[in-house]
Subunit: 345 residues, 2 copies
C-alpha cells in the first residue's frame, strides 16, 4: 500500500503446477527478485495458483510475499491443506476463474505416457494461456501436438529449464540462426557426472559413489532415469527438435553407467584418460555413451554436478559450461522464461 | 526467374557500410546462406548498396549472388569503380532512394571521435532504418545518443559482432534476465591472446610473437589498439552497458602487454602458472590486466585466437568459449543480427 501508482507496470499472472524442489525455489526467487523485476522490466509477477499432486491453493489477487514463503514450508503434497486450499481441484475450473497469462509446468517427467504434464500443458494452451515448462517429457513425447496448438493459438511455450537448467543454453542454441549446427555433444546429466567424478576423486566403486550422490541429494532414491541415460537422451531429443530433427527416445543409443567398474576407472587413469558420460547428437544419430577422453579435452575436466556442451558449427566450435540443474538454478531459467514472455506479450 | 511465387517470403533490404574483411565475408555468407535463410526463416536478404571509404555501389533491385561474389574480389576502397559505382556518395541520398530496412555498420572503430560510424548510424536511424553494427566505437562513445534515438524511433540496434564476434555472447548475456551479474571476466582480444600463447608455446620474446601475429594477419600493422588493451576495454564498456553500468574508456585500468618479457613467461612456467591478458568488469571497476593464473583455471587453457569469458552470477558461474573474431566469424554474428531484426519486424 506504499506503492506509488505506476501505470507502466505490467501484471503477469502465473499458476505454478508442480510444487517440489523447483517450484518452491521459484516461489522464493519470485519473492527475492520481485523488486528487481519491477524496476528492470516493469513486470509484476503475481502467483495466483499453485498446484501439487493432491490439490491446489488459489488466490485471485495473487499471493503476498509472506504467503509465498509460507507455502514453501508446507510438506510435499500438502498444499491443499493451506488456507483456502482445494483438494483435487481441476486446472480448467481454476484457470477459468483466475485466467493466468502463464502456466508454469514443473511436475516430474514421465517417459511412459508424458502425464500429467502433457495434459496440463494442452489444457493451458486451449485456455489461451502461455506455457513455461521445466518438465521434459511432454516435449520429448508430444512436441508436434504441443507446438501445433501453440502456433494455432498464437501463444508461446518456453522451456529453458529443460536442458542445462541453470543456464540459458536453449536460448544460446536458438540464437545461432545462420549457423549450421554439425554436432552437439556434452555432459548433460548432473547426477551421473557427479558419480563419475567421485569415482575418480576417491577411487571408489560405482555403488559407493552412487550412495554418496544419494546421501547429498544429487541422486534420487530411484536413479534409473539418470544412470540409464534416459534423462540425457530426453535432453538430446529436445536439442534435436531445435535443430529440426525428430528423434524418438528408443532411437537414442544408451550405455548404462552402472556397468562401469573401479577397474575401468583405474585403467583409464593409467592411460592418462578420463571416462565421461557423453551425450551426442549429429546429422545421423544420437547417443548417450561412456567415452574415454584425452585429459586435454575440455569435457574431461568438467566435474561434479557441472554440465558442459560443445556446439560444433560450420563457423567454429562453441564451448559452454554451467550448472546443469538444481532447484534454484532451474527456477532461475523458469523465471527468465516467464520474463521473456512477460516483456514480449 | 525460376522462383515459384511464395507470398510468405519477407524481403529484408540491407546496405553494407564498410567493405573490408567482415563486409566481404558477410557478402559471401549471404550468398552461401541465401537458400537456407529462405527455407528456415522465410527471409530474403537483398543487398541494395555497399559503401567503402571512397564511394558506393547501388542496385535498387538488389545485387545478384554473382555480383556480390564479384564485389568481394574488388581491391579495397575501389568499390565505386564497379559498374554503376558512385564516388563520394552520401548515405542520405542513397537511403532516400533505396530505403533499406537495415543499415549494417562495418567501418573500423575510431576511439578518438567515433567517426564515421557514429554519424552513419545516427543518419540511418533518422531515416527510420534499423541498425546492425560490428563497429564498437559508436557504442563506446555515443551509446546514450544512439539508443535514445533508437527508442524514440521505435527501431532496433543490434551489435552481437562487437564482443566475442564469432559467438552469440551478447545474446547470452542479455538472456540472463533475472540473474544478478556479479562479474564478467575473460579473454576478449584475439590478437593479444595469440601473442601470449605463442610466447609460451615457442618461448620467444614479445616482439617475435608480435611479428608472427602480423605475418599471419592476426595482428594489424599498427597493433596498438590491441596491445594497449583499448579493444578489450571497449568490449568491457559495451558489456557494462548491458549490465546497466556507464563507464568511460579512460576509467578502464589497462596494462600494456608489450612490457611483458620472455623472462616473465619463463618465471611463470617455473611457478606452474600462466600469464593471461584478462578483461574484468565488476560492481566497482573495469580493467584489462596481465594476470598470473593457476594452470587449473579454465582461462589459463584458452590459447591462440580463441576467446573465453566467465560470467559470475548470483546463481553460479557460466563459462563460455568461442572464436573471438575473424572476418567470417564476425560476419556470422552480423548475419544473425540481421535475421533477428528480419524475423521480428
Amino acid at each position: 500500500m506504499f506503492d506509488a501508482p505506476n501505470t507502466k507496470i505490467k501484471n503477469i499472472d502465473i499458476a505454478i503446477v508442480g510444487f517440489g524442489n523447483v517450484g518452491r525455489s521459484l516461489a522464493k526467487l519470485i519473492v527475492y527478485k520481485r523488486q528487481v523485476l519491477e524496476d528492470k522490466f516493469n513486470l509484476r509477477i503475481n502467483v495466483k495458483a499453485i498446484f501439487d499432486s493432491k490439490g491446489a491453493v488459489v488466490k485471485e489477487e495473487g499471493f503476498s510475499n509472506y504467503e509465498l514463503l509460507k507455502l514453501t514450508e508446507i510438506p510435499r503434497s500438502k498444499i491443499s491443506e493451506f488456507e483456502n486450499g482445494l483438494r483435487g481441484a481441476s486446472l480448467k475450473e481454476i484457470y477459468d476463474k483466475i485466467k493466468p497469462n502463464i502456466h508454469v509446468e514443473l511436475t516430474p517427467s514421465n517417459y511412459i505416457d508424458g502425464e500429467p504434464s502433457t495434459s496440463n500443458i494442452l489444457t493451458a494452451l486451449n485456455l489461451d494461456c502461455n506455457v513455461v515448462t521445466a518438465t521434459k517429457s511432454p516435449l520429448v513425447l508430444h512436441y508436434d501436438e504441443i507446438f501445433s496448438l501453440t502456433k494455432k493459438k498464437g501463444l508461446k511455450v518456453k522451456f529453458r529449464g529443460t536442458v542445462m537448467g541453470g543456464t540459458p543454453f536453449i536460448d544460446l542454441l536458438m540464437s545461432l540462426k545462420s549457423y549450421e549446427i554439425i554436432k552437439v555433444e556434452g555432459i548433460l546429466n548432473a547426477t551421473t557426472n557427479f558419480i563419475l567424478s567421485t569415482m575418480y576423486e576417491k577411487l571408489i566403486s560405482y555403488e559407493q559413489a552412487l550412495a554418496e550422490a544419494k546421501a547429498i541429494g544429487v541422486a534420487e532414491a530411484d536413479p534409473s532415469i539418470d544412470i540409464k541415460g534416459i534423462d540425457a537422451a530426453a535432453k538430446l531429443i529436445i536439442i534435436g527438435r531445435l535443430l529440426g530433427k525428430r528423434i524418438s527416445l528408443d532411437k537414442v543409443e544408451r550405455d548404462d553407467i552402472s556397468k562401469l567398474t573401479l577397474n575401468d576407472i583405474i585403467n583409464s587413469i593409467k592411460e592418462n584418460r578420463v571416462i565421461k558420460y557423453i551425450a551426442t547428437i549429429d546429422e545421423s544419430s544420437a547417443s548417450v555413451k561412456l567415452r574415454s577422453l584425452e585429459k586435454s579435452d575440455p569435457l574431461a575436466n568438467i566435474n561434479g554436478t557441472t554440465n558442459a556442451v560443445r556446439i560444433v558449427t560450420d563457423s567454429g566450435d562453441l564451448f559452454f559450461v554451467g550448472k546443469g540443474g538444481g532447484g534454484m538454478e532451474t527456477a532461475h531459467s523458469v523465471l527468465d522464461d516467464i520474463i521473456s514472455i512477460g516483456v514480449s506479450s
